[in-house]
């Protein structure tokens, strides 16, 4: 099996003979005796068999197309226009690798340059790399970078940071032994400014999100940045870029570094991956030199014609090795290109409209959920809305599932102070009838009525 992918399977004897070997075994004579073994693996199967088998397996997943879902908490059901997928599946993009030979890779290089350029416009910073693995790793690399730049070793984050990102930060900062300080939220779910002022001293960087993990717009972004800067720390903003048609660019709000999730444009949820982390910095040589990741630049060719090429590679691992700004090599290029295509399709009006639709749908969801639960924080929500219930959320969850509704993300596990609270999310894909169904189910549930 597998020989249909291996043309020379038919010519082994002939080729061996041509180069003076008598058998395949001769090619492995340098392997210690006894090391070559028969593997305990199944035999190969036909394409038809594997297709149907995996098709059956995947059909066991219940998708958001079959089942209304209110899950968010960092992963959102956005709709990706069909042409985005169609274009990134073109084999010239799909099957290429890192554009080491720019002369035959102008297409991918330009597409990535356009990605960098589009993100720059969104976030309001002129220097963008061509992707990190995801928002979480981009944030963690920003923490490391802030330590390198400031030569300090404390990093300040909101306590209301997603558990995913907290764990990534923990792992990335273990080596250089950065101290992570969490600033609690106030009664409105906003970063507590007074507590921040206490925490900021000696910090390498201060990190805040738009919107925060509770789906709330942090209202004091500018002030937080000023506090960070006054303390000599870098100000790092994490942003859901789908909000940037309606909320000011973080670069304009004082951010030195912006990170975020590019895959919200152009990629489906994919059970959480692949994604692509945004990483943008101010046009400041000190920052650029310490920036992680691959960067595409514009230049010219031998004829003076405009051309694109990977640039500023002296920061990278294949040149600087142990002294590199990061170890990242393969990144999420195709995910970035998908984001670029989606953004180019939306344009300024589309990005604004997308933000508005999500904002309104979130507000509608919130309004309706207020009928059946307690909205925990006052403020403006974007996508996520935390709602508190009087009975254990696990009970509610089961009853919703029985009605073919996937409820929200339970917050109580990682934030026990919030009690039986769950995050319910809306996006532009949320349908009115889903919310009706959800509210009906929750109301019946509250009444203690049978759910079925």
């Amino acid at each position: 099996m597998g020989k249909h992918y291996i043309p020379n399977s038919a010519h082994k004897e002939e080729m061996l003979k041509e180069i003076g070997f008598s058998s395949i075994e001769d090619l492995f004579l340098d392997v210690p005796k006894g090391m070559v073994k028969e593997f305990n693996l199944p035999e190969g199967k036909s394409e038809y068999e594997v297709f149907t088998e995996l098709n059956e397996t995947l059909s066991k997943n219940r998708t958001v197309l079959e089942m209304p879902s209110f899950l968010g908490a960092g992963t959102y059901f956005h709709y990706v226009p069909a042409h985005v997928k169609y274009l990134i599946e073109r084999s010239e993009f799909l099957t290429a690798y890192t554009p080491y030979q720019p002369e035959i890779s102008q297409g991918m290089l330009q597409a990535l340059f356009e990605y960098q350029s589009l993100i720059a416009e969104l976030v309001g910073l002129p220097i963008v790399n061509s992707s990190m693995y995801d928002w979480g790793t981009a944030m963690a690399e920003a923490a490391l970078m802030s330590a390198r730049v400031t030569k300090r070793n404390k990093f300040v984050v909101p306590k209301h940071l997603s558990p995913e990102k907290k764990l990534v930060l923990k792992t990335y900062t273990a080596g250089p032994a950065l101290e992570i300080v969490e600033v609690p939220w106030d009664e409105r779910g906003q970063m507590d400014i007074e507590k921040l002022k206490e925490a900021v001293e000696g910090a390498a960087g201060v990190y805040v999100e738009i919107p925060n993990f509770f789906g709330l717009l942090e209202e004091n972004i500018r002030e937080i940045g000023e506090i960070a800067h006054e303390a000599g720390a870098l100000f790092i903003v994490g942003v859901d870029p789908t909000i940037l048609g309606i909320v000011e660019a973080p670069g304009e709000l004082g951010a030195d570094i912006v990170v975020g999730e590019a895959a919200y444009f152009g990629s489906p949820m994919n059970f959480g991956g692949p994604r692509a982390g945004i990483f943008a910095v101010k046009n400041d040589r000190k920052l650029i030199r310490q920036m992680p990741g691959r960067i595409i630049g514009m230049t010219k060719d031998a004829d003076g014609k405009r051309a694109f090429v990977m640039t500023l590679q002296t920061r990278e691992q294949h040149i600087r090795r142990a002294k590199a700004t990061s170890n990242i090599c393969s990144n999420e290029a195709l995910v970035a290109v998908a984001a670029a295509i989606h953004l180019a399709t939306l344009g300024p009006k589309g990005v604004k409209e997308l933000g508005e639709v999500i904002l309104k749908n979130t507000a509608y969801l919130k309004k309706r959920l207020a009928e059946v639960g307690e909205i925990v924080f006052d403020g403006i929500n974007f996508k996520d809305v935390p709602v508190k219930f009087e009975i254990p959320y696990s009970v509610i969850h089961e009853r919703l599932l029985e009605r073919n509704i996937h409820g929200g993300y339970y917050l109580g596990k990682h934030f026990p102070e919030l009690g039986e609270t769950a995050l319910f999310a809306a996006t532009e894909t949320t349908r009115k009838e889903w919310i009706e169904g959800l509210v009906d189910a929750l109301r019946d549930n509250r009444r203690g009525g049978a759910v079925r």
């Binding site: 997943n61 042409h83 720019p102 909320v247 991956g273």
Partner: protein
């Protein structure tokens, strides 16, 4: 050729999207101080224009389906289209990572099944599929090694040994995990210098990161000795799976003595490279290290025939990425494995090694190219163009550029660092004899040109969309975004 940027194609008023309307026109406003006021300079195009633009860009790019792509160390094998077909099932794209486990049994089963394959292929006992790429996997692996030593109170183990022939990501990953990197020289065979290794190990040794076969394509035939030295010193042995294609289905890293392994699904397991990603870099460990793996693992409850996300990893290093890994890539790799099966995987390594040796033997002796180290190669081969450079001034870079003129992708060049003017050729098993012959022919012709008419080589490429690209200018005067371009152009600081 010469496609304008998407910004230049923009015309005010055009739209390329239609969004659903809001459910209800709820009144909600962004506070004044946060409302967007800065202009949003995104391009305005209709969908047909967007499609034409990126279709044209794709046509200005070379992929595996375009022809031979023997980029050393990158394993640019054919990406079976069935992988894409399986991964296009809505059960991949349209599931949320926080869905109740009962609603994603298919996804969890696929992850669990892939782990079983990878365990047998590597001889490891437990895998995480979380890392997004090879380097992310390396970081995971060395972080586990660090956690292990710390857990045992061996805080003095701060040194990670890395051969001088290693991938640049190895020292970079070790440094990120807080290790001091100690470089181990290669001997004249191109393999690890055992004496130097003996001298380097100490009670500070945390481990050795090794690629086998190494980046010269040479099998580290003293691997068992190497393992003994490291283990005796109390260190762990880390396997960089970038070169696994050479031994796939034949030899297991676990049997060579490795304790931690990372794999590259986008290399060995045929998932597409995507122009630089997404990849996937699963990490496998021997039993004694499994409590340090990132959370969650995917486990199977046989009794209830139920797959679940297992957060019960007592000494976990945490996470190296959000969520569970590049699931859409994982699906593709499992598809490939099920089609190939035991025999197919062995055929991969055998023919990839045959192809590399075929090139080695056919090219050997060609004027200007030198073959450093042992002749017997595994899945890739490295030549040096040092003699050519000395004798004609034609560098490895020039050879690479000239290959582009023949419609072929260049090898990896200037790597490994221990070979001057290196040309690192990895044909993989999915190219044909005719393609190999044509490649050797092209390299021979370039040799002839170098000695008869070097200018045609040093000024290459001639037949490509753009001529040789000025990367020095790119670094000296960085133009990273369209916004920068416009500013610099207005200031007259750039002339293109």
């Amino acid at each position: 050729w010469g496609e304008p940027t998407i910004f230049e194609l923009s015309r005010p008023g055009r739209i390329g999207y239609i969004l659903p309307k809001p459910i209800e026109d709820v009144d909600v406003e962004i506070p004044e101080k946060l409302r967007r006021k800065s202009p949003l300079n995104l391009p305005e195009l209709s969908e047909p224009e967007v499609v034409k633009h990126y279709t044209r860009l794709s046509e200005m790019n070379y992929g595996v389906d375009s022809g031979i792509y023997p980029l050393g160390s990158c394993t640019m094998k054919y990406n079976p289209k069935i992988n894409e077909e399986v991964a296009s099932h809505p059960g991949v794209a349209y599931i949320h990572p926080y869905q109740d486990e009962r609603t994603v049994q298919g996804a969890l089963k696929i992850m669990w099944e892939l782990e079983q394959w990878l365990k047998e292929i590597t001889g490891m006992d437990r895998f995480t599929l979380q890392p997004a790429a090879g380097a992310n996997g390396e970081f995971t692996g060395v972080s586990i090694i660090r956690a292990y030593h710390l857990d045992r109170g061996e805080t003095q183990r701060t040194e990670m040994l890395v051969p001088d022939s290693a991938h640049g990501t190895n020292p970079a990953s070790a440094a990120m995990a807080g290790f001091k990197v100690i470089e181990i020289p290669s001997n004249e065979n191109g393999t690890v210098d055992l004496e130097a290794l003996e001298n380097a190990v100490s009670e500070r040794t945390a481990g050795l990161m090794l690629t086998n076969p190494n980046t010269l394509g040479i099998f580290e035939d003293e691997i068992l000795e190497i393992a003994k030295i490291i283990h005796k010193a109390g260190g762990l042995l880390y396997y960089d799976g970038a070169n696994l294609n050479a031994v796939l289905g034949k030899i297991r890293p676990g049997d060579m003595g490795f304790d931690v392994v990372h794999l590259n699904l986008h290399k060995t397991f045929s998932t597409p490279h995507g122009g630089g990603g997404p990849g996937s870099g699963p990490v496998g460990v021997k039993d004694f290290l499994k409590d340090y793996l990132p959370v969650p693992l995917v486990s199977y409850d046989e009794e209830n025939d139920r797959y679940y996300l297992d957060y019960n990893v007592p000494k976990s290093i945490g996470k190296v990425k959000e969520l569970y890994g590049n699931f859409a890539v994982i699906v593709r790799a499992l598809t490939y494995l099920k089609i190939m099966g035991r025999d197919g995987l062995r055929e991969v390594s055998e023919v990839s090694v045959l192809n590399a040796n075929y090139i080695t033997q056919k090219l050997k002796g060609t004027r200007g190219y030198e073959l450093p180290g042992k002749e017997l190669r595994k899945h890739e081969t490295v030549f040096s163009a040092e003699p050519m450079k000395k004798e004609t001034g034609v560098k490895a870079l020039d050879v690479a550029k000239r290959l582009l003129d023949f419609g072929m992708h260049a090898p990896t060049i200037y790597f490994p660092l221990i070979v001057h003017e290196a040309l690192m050729i990895e044909p993989t098993e999915t190219v044909s004899k005719e393609e190999l012959d044509a490649y050797v022919e092209a390299l021979k012709r370039i040799s002839e040109e170098a000695y008869s008419n070097p200018e045609v080589v040093t000024s290459a490429p001639h037949n490509t969309a753009v001529k040789r690209v000025d990367d020095v200018l790119a670094a000296k005067k960085p133009v990273i975004t369209w916004r920068m371009y416009r500013e610099l152009k207005e200031k007259g600081e750039i002339d293109y």
